[in-house]
């Protein structure tokens, strides 16, 4: 028998009862749903289609940036292929909803109403897309055990490119259930996801409700992770791998886990993106341009800061909506912004801290000065 550890001994003294914990979980879940309903019905009714569109885009961007922050911010690895995971989730989820809509409803049109069979299939497909992306994250995370810094960046970049090329090789999209049923094996393998033409007519289930709900879930997940023992262990890897290992942190395991968590949410974000009005998925969605945008949000917000990444995601989305006429010049501005951050505020807006820690600190310092 192993001796009782000091930690176990003390934990036994402060164990909260099950009822309270269950209540806490329930309240948190309901709060997420309530917030999503509020955004959907109250805020949604006050704004026009242009602002709604920006809110949807911003929500998806928050999910992407906050999740990439788990890898680049918490564990201090450098992934520049986040869009690859996003594309995996987007294509998997879109494939599920599109073909199941053809089969069940005879049309790719989304069913109306906030809660319908179609929208539940959509929610489930987002989770499946997330899981598929997490699986890809596991595969990419494995080499990251040995690689660091620039080398890992190249692997993740390569992953995005591989996804792009594989998607280009997919079969042409099928446009009716009859056509799908009649399809030969050759037309179904590789799956009919549109190839270079892109994947179109995806049912438009993405609404403020679903985006807000998944944003809330992502934020709760990330905050609780950061403030947990696992989260501290991830941050310790970023600070000093040798010391982290010496203190008993299994750094290989945690690096892979970080990759899987991040790619899961990237996949979910991709699913939400895919089901937006007017989206046609293209293999280039997996490419570097989008990965770069997500990376900038994380660096701008401060590596490790969840609220920083979320705020930067919103800022960038609004800015790019206002600069839509600039077209490709946007990328130049992004690059310029990144360089300026690196020079003038290398830690990003908030560094590793959260917004309230930064502003709380300022306030307290002023109070002391007075």
């Amino acid at each position: 028998m192993s001796p009782v550890s000091k930690l176990d001994e003390q934990a036994a003294l402060v164990m909260p009862d099950r009822g309270r914990a269950a209540l806490n979980a329930l309240v948190t879940g309901l709060a997420c749903i309530a917030a999503a309903l509020l955004v959907h019905f109250v805020v949604g009714s006050m704004v026009g289609p242009f602002v709604t569109r920006i809110m949807l885009d911003a929500g998806v961007m928050i999910i992407l940036a906050v999740s990439l922050n788990i890898v680049n911010g918490f564990t201090g690895q450098f992934s520049i292929g986040h869009a690859g995971f996003m594309a995996v989730g987007a294509y998997v989820a879109a494939g599920i909803t599109y073909y199941s809509s053809l089969a069940l409803f005879g049309s790719y049109q989304a069913q109306t109403g906030l809660i319908s069979v179609g929208s539940l299939i959509f929610a489930a497909s987002a989770l499946v897309g997330g899981l598929a992306a997490a699986g890809a994250g596991w595969v990419v995370g494995l080499p990251s055990l040995r690689l660091r810094g620039d080398y890992l960046a190249i692997v993740t970049l390569g992953f995005g490119e591989i996804v792009r090329v594989l998607l280009q090789q997919s079969n042409p999209q099928l446009f009716s259930w009859d056509e799908t049923r009649a399809a030969s094996l050759k037309e179904l393998v590789p799956p009919p996801l549109g190839g270079a033409q892109g994947f179109q007519s995806i049912p438009t289930y993405t609404s403020l409700f679903w985006v807000a709900l998944f944003v809330a879930i992502t934020l709760v997940f990330c905050f609780r992770l950061k403030r947990s023992s696992e989260g501290r262990a991830m941050l310790s890897i970023r600070e000093d791998e040798i010391a982290a290992q010496a203190m008993g942190v299994n750094i290989t395991n945690l690096k892979v886990r970080a990759f899987m968590f991040a790619s899961f949410f990237a996949g979910v974000g991709g699913a939400l993106y895919a089901h937006q009005l007017g989206t046609a998925l293209r293999p280039t969605d997996a490419g570097f341009a989008r990965s770069f945008e997500i990376l900038i949000a994380v660096v701008l917000g401060g590596l490790g800061s969840i609220s920083g990444a979320a705020l930067a995601a919103v800022l960038l989305t609004v800015a790019s909506a206002l600069m839509i006429e600039l077209g490709p010049w946007r990328m130049v501005l992004y690059a310029l912004a990144l360089i300026l951050i690196m020079i003038f505020r290398p830690g990003g807006l908030f560094g590793v801290k959260e917004a309230w820690e930064v502003f709380g600190g300022l306030w307290r310092r002023k109070a002391v000065a007075r």
Binding site: K6, A21, A25, E230, R232, E239, A246
Partner: protein
């Protein structure tokens, strides 16, 4: 004699042609406080790196409380009960002092994703217990008031003591201290000496200490091993070591050079 808590048998490593450590043998009894000394570059830190799995020994065996650990990964060795501090302090600079010490508790915790995200009772209790334990340790070192500071903002001496706290938080059987008095003033050194002695009594931890300050080593260590150019040139009580001609020569030799 009962089984030693740390049993090192003829471990060795060479970096290219440089034999950094050869045939190093040491038996640390439970509750022992032993010293490891030697001139600069003698291989002392390399011994610690071999023990904690930073390097894998090319020969020899290491057993912690009867369990062989050579060749296993650093975090597994920590879980077996070997913890250390670093000569060139390696705190998690951007994390708060209390988070640094709580990280030490990580290895004794149990972690599940669902529990972490859903705040299961066990998870909440464990987090509270970690914070409590970390604060207890910090109070013991008079560092409780600095708990919220980022570790990098502390003074050198305080950082060294936070490192000891963090190492103790892993609930080690054996604590390896690499030059804990370096950079401290005489007053701090005196306090540190008393503290190291009390650690053993309070935590039941056995200690192996690397230290350049002979005053500190001779005063608190029961037995001392002397390394020079990777080889063990002497082993014995402080009095024996002080009289040993080989040791005197090794130290005078480096001073003369």
């Amino acid at each position: 004699m009962s089984r030693p808590i740390l049993d090192i048998e003829k471990i060795a490593i060479a970096f290219g042609g440089l034999k950094a450590v050869q045939d190093f043998t040491l038996r640390l009894p439970t509750g022992g406080l032993y010293g490891l000394i030697g001139p600069n570059g003698a291989g002392k830190t390399t011994v610690f790196n071999l023990l904690t799995g930073v390097y894998t020994p090319q020969a020899g065996t290491i057993a912690v409380d009867g369990t062989r650990v050579e060749g296993t990964r650093p975090h597994e060795i920590a879980a077996q009960g070997l913890s250390r501090t670093f000569q060139n302090i390696r705190l998690f600079g951007l994390l708060s002092v209390v988070d640094n010490v709580m990280l030490g508790c990580h290895v004794r915790g149990r972690h599940g994703l669902a529990g972490t995200i859903l705040h299961s009772p066990r998870h909440v209790a464990q987090e509270r217990a970690m914070r409590r334990r970390a604060m207890e340790l910090l109070s013991l070192f008079d560092l409780a008031s600095a708990a919220g500071e980022q570790a990098k903002n502390l003074s050198y001496g305080d950082q060294r003591r936070v490192e000891i706290c963090r190492a103790l938080a892993t609930e080690p059987k054996v604590l390896l201290l690499d030059e804990p008095a370096a950079g401290m003033n005489p007053q701090e050194k005196k306090e540190l000496q008393a503290l190291i002695r009390s650690l053993r009594d309070r935590f039941g931890v056995s200690i192996l200490l690397i230290e350049h300050d002979m005053g500190v080593v001779m005063d608190i260590c029961e037995r001392i091993t002397v390394l020079d150019y990777g080889e063990t040139i002497a082993e014995g009580t402080p009095t024996e070591i002080q009289r040993n001609p080989k040791v005197i020569e090794a130290y005078l030799g480096t001073e003369a050079a």
